[in-house]
Amino acid sequence: MNERVAVVGYKQTKHTFDSPVARERMIYELVKSLFKDLGITRDDIDTFIFASNDFTDGRTISEVYTVPRIGSFMKDETKVEADGLNAALYAYMRILSGLYETALVIGFSMAGSEFRVPLTQAYTLDPVYERPRGIINFYSTAALQASAYMKKYKFTDEDLARLTVKNLQNANNNPYAARKEPTISVEDVLNSKPLYLPIRQAHVSAYADGACAVILSSKKAAKKFTDTPVWIDGVGHSMDTYYIGDRDLLGMEHLSAAAKKAYKMAGIKNPKKEIDFAELHTNFASEEPVFAEAMGLFKPGSGKDVVKNGDSGIGGALPVNPSGGPLGANPINATGLIRLAEASEQLRKEAGKNQVKGAKTAVVHAQDGPGAQLNTVFVVRR
């Protein structure tokens, strides 16, 4: 068995709302240039794991035509049908088993141009209760969660707008982000189109065309790829029950359990102190304080103070989504994996304008399902 697994290479596309190339070429060029950067060939990779989804790809068995595009032709290959961070989790397990030394993980979708995101989300709801009733969907679930948080902790619409602007400013300095709104103000967010209040259009993540590829390796094999590996020291994943009326929308016991497991593996006792920054997969801006608190990064209900003090900003006590997060780009299936790539970039001090100073330990998160029913958490260290 291998004892430690590292992120040794990563690359994401420049995400867009209307990709100039088809998905096959998008992932082919991404992986090819990642290989070139690292000076490796596909023969240096033992196993390839896709993160894609038949519904977001609009076809049955979504990887049928993508296999050769990432170099996995006649190679060991499989597919996780969830966010890419789950594929990274599977790759991590495969390497830990000792049967593989290296793995390439890729997540992608054309969420900006090729399908209506709410339609794939509707297909994610059960077909016989929520779907025909038409009341509960990904948006209204997020709104009910946001509303519960805001009422309980006196978190105002203005606080939420400030938090949105914080992320969009970060996204503006992120060369990969699709959504660029450099001049957006708190007022703009407050006045943006109401959807399911308190959720407005400006709070919604930027569903985009894009891909992210990450290479993981055993400690033994890491030297071949890089001198600055980023170690995956803790992982956890957990799922909640399905019906929203049975969930604890604020406590998010399942997310909290996944985070605790990852912290325990990484030997982290006090995440508030020991974690230097977080990259969270938020489909809506309002999810940020809820997730961060469930993950033990801030005191429950502290969202208002965190926004006021700028604690989650790049210069703050515990920056959250210094990349801008999914508010800047949310290419479904790649989004959580991008969090891992962004965290690795930060830890290697390659994050440019968004660099968090002195960052050594990060927590990375991904979600699937309505209201983040399934969550995956990684702790990574330089």
């Binding site: 190339v21 709410p118 077909p127 009341i135 709104a143 009910l144 009422k151 308190p198 959720i199 029950t241």
Partner: protein, 149 residues
Amino acid sequence: MPGNVVRARVPITFSYKNRVGHALEQYINGLKEKKILGVKCPACKKVYVPPRTVCGKCHKPIDQMVEIGQEGVLKNFTTAHVTIANGEITDVQQPYIIGLIKLPGASSLISGIIKTSSVPEVKTGMKVKAVWKETTQGDYNDLAYFEPA
């Protein structure tokens, strides 16, 4: 060099006939009689709405249907300015309220539309009651909405 990718529409819609299942079928039949049904776990005594055939906590199969009260407390709500159907987000003329309601006898909160004379009137903690269609036919619309009790 690549660029200007040409996109072809696939003008085909797949059709499905998804099965309602044992527990929900009874729930829908209950609606026809203007009843809200849940299932009670024999082990932990929790009552789930909508009903299902298992308790997710105790992993015990459950089939004991119980009737739920129809007047309860609004626990949480959102004011909707849009609807989502067929993946399209469409504006509505009149904003409406989607609420999570605690009905007596149920452990689950039930989601539903809240109708009031004006939106600002809605507050969490207010009492609401189920309003039924005059003639029920055994579908989800039979339970039309909730209104202040």
